[in-house]
């Protein structure tokens, strides 16, 4: 695949290599994560891949006790909830991801503003295996 293809599958391919990549508009410099094929800000430039900072801050989060099928299959349930949130990368865009290293059973102990670092989680078996972006909270 040409490296100038900015699709979800190309993004996932880079996550599989444990790289957090977005796109940057060569004209106005806007950054996009997840990557986009066209600049939604200026419409002008072509896109290029850019490796993004892997540190960021929790902007919003929740502890999910009733999850979707995919997370139930990953082993999460009412007794074993998970934390998902929106992380603003340092000098970069924000992205939705699971947040690790916090205690989802005590969500009142999790704080907006907590510093986190990107990590990569493997889920699924065989052909269905995929790498997901997640963030790890700093050891407090």
């Amino acid at each position: 695949m040409s490296d100038a293809v900015f699709t979800e599958s190309a993004y996932t391919g880079k996550l599989n290599e444990h790289k957090l990549m977005g796109t940057r508009c060569t004209s106005c410099g806007s950054l996009f994560l997840p990557p986009r094929p066209m600049c939604a800000d200026c419409y002008d430039g072509s896109m290029e891949w850019v490796e993004l900072p892997t540190t960021g801050t929790i902007e919003a989060f929740t502890s999910v006790f009733i999850g979707p099928t995919a997370m139930i299959e990953a082993g999460y349930d009412r007794k074993n909830p998970y934390c998902v949130g929106i992380v603003k990368l340092d000098e970069g865009p924000a992205i939705s991801a699971q947040i690790l290293g916090v205690d989802p059973t005590h969500p009142e102990s999790i704080n907006v503003g907590t510093k986190v670092k990107a990590t990569f989680v493997e889920r699924g078996d065989g052909e269905g295996q995929r790498t997901f972006l997640a963030f790890q909270a700093d050891d407090a």
């Binding site: 997840p34 919003a60 929740t62 999910v64 006790f65 009733i66 979707p68 929106i86 939705s96």
Partner: protein
């Protein structure tokens, strides 16, 4: 902002709905027929359905919920309205709010004189986890849902951002749920038309009947803090912060304003409409507001030539209690960060200065997602005409508003209604 006006006035001359609830054995078409009949009965001077020229039907996902696509033509057929054009409108939970707008535009353009707007959804055929998965497709299926977001999760995340910025607590949101159940208890069409006190009493009665230990709560807030009675769904949203899974339909009859007197001496005029879209939550500057709702409100206010101070009551999209708090700020009733406090102080109660969700809202009345926007209009129609029974708001209700949201604010549609 350029102020846009309709080229021709549009009036509501009839509105009806099915009960909202769980109705095994009934499909969307059965519920729609009930709504249609209710609408027809509400037309003061009578309606010959043959005068209807087009249908706009809001429906999120009969495709998944009932394995039935292409639902608008079926609604036209079951209401005896073929061969009129019938268009399905899908904008997640804003589907029928947007269908209303499309119907308004159809009349304002001069193409039609009379349009039937509907909303339909039949959700209870599927088990809860499959309903959760189905609602999730209104989110971003590439970048939000696979990492673990759910709909309660999106709004719960807004709640954490709101609590962090404004010092609200989970109790702030619980009080919104309490208020909406108080309203819904007076609405015979509501799915969960009980106050929280009544819910507590029923649970105690059931425990007694089954010889189980009798649960004890000091008061309603104590009940809402009890994780057995009110489990966490996505913190800080608990069960009684979340709208239910519902079946239901609603129908609204629109005519050109100059024709309204043929149908009623008491029409409700559409004086403002606004609609906007937004990016995924992670691409927003501010997670404590739905900017599309604020923008849609500004458009509607500008068209109507009124301000938030002028509006007497509103039905807002309380799919989750935090959503109502944010909604009351986005429509300009309260400054940013004050909506939660206003709810806690009772200012949005039925007898407060700004009654919100007198129907019980989506929380208590029910949330058949594609029907909810049209259902809001039915409540405003009843209240403004003084036909809301026990829950009737006192005073002259000359201006009302509806605020209907798709997904986590990716679509927002706002309407302003006037009684002259």
């Amino acid at each position: 902002m350029t102020v846009r006006k309709l080229n021709r006035g549009v009036a509501i001359v009839g509105a009806g709905m099915s009960n909202f609830g769980a109705f095994p054995g009934k499909t969307t078409r059965d519920l729609f027929v009930e709504a249609f009949q209710g609408m027809r009965a509400s037309v003061d001077k009578g309606l010959d359905p043959n005068d209807i020229e087009a249908l706009y039907i809001g429906n999120f996902s009969s495709d998944v919920f009932e394995s039935q696509g292409h639902t608008a033509a079926i609604m036209a057929d079951w209401s005896g309205l073929t061969p009129r054009p019938a268009t399905r409108v899908e904008d997640a939970c804003a589907s029928s709010g947007v269908a209303l707008r499309d119907g308004i535009l159809g009349i304002a353009s001069g193409i039609y004189d009379m349009v039937l707007v509907g909303g339909i959804e039949k959700m209870t055929n599927l088990p809860t986890e499959r309903v959760t998965d189905t609602l999730a497709i209104a989110g971003d299926m590439l970048y939000e849902i696979p990492v673990g977001f759910t709909f309660p999760g999106f709004y719960a995340a807004m709640a954490t951002a709101y609590m962090n910025r404004y010092g609200a607590t989970p109790e702030t949101f619980m009080k919104v749920g309490l208020k909406n159940h108080n309203n819904g208890a007076l609405n015979p069409t509501a799915q969960y038309g009980s106050t929280i006190t009544q819910v507590m009493e029923k649970k105690i009665e059931r425990a007694e009947a089954k010889g189980r230990p009798i649960p004890q709560w000091d008061d309603e807030m104590d009940f809402l803090h009890d994780s057995r009675a009110n489990p966490i769904i996505a913190w800080p949203m608990r069960l009684y912060d979340c709208s239910p899974i519902s079946d239901g339909a609603a129908a609204i009859l629109l005519v050109a304003e100059d024709l309204a007197s043929s149908f009623t001496d008491d029409p409700i005029i559409i004086s403002g409409t606004g609609q906007a879209s937004d990016r995924a939550m992670h691409d927003r500057e501010d997670l404590t507001t739905l900017s599309a709702a604020a923008l849609a409100s500004q458009q509607a206010y500008a068209m109507a030539g009124v301000t938030p101070d002028d509006i007497k009551l509103a039905e807002v999209h309380d799919c989750f209690t935090i959503a109502e708090v944010i909604a009351t700020e986005d429509i300009g009733f309260f400054p940013a960060g004050q909506g939660g406090k206003a709810a806690e102080e009772g200012r949005t109660a039925r007898d407060g200065e700004k009654p919100i969700n007198t129907s019980g809202g989506l929380k208590s009345k029910g949330h058949p997602v594609g029907a909810s926007g049209a259902g809001q209009v039915v409540e405003i129609w009843k209240q403004m005409r003084g036909e809301a029974g026990e829950r009737q708001v006192e005073g002259t209700l000359d201006l009302g508003l509806t605020h209907n949201v798709g997904a986590a604010g990716q679509t927002c549609v706002v309407h302003i209604f006037e009684r002259k």
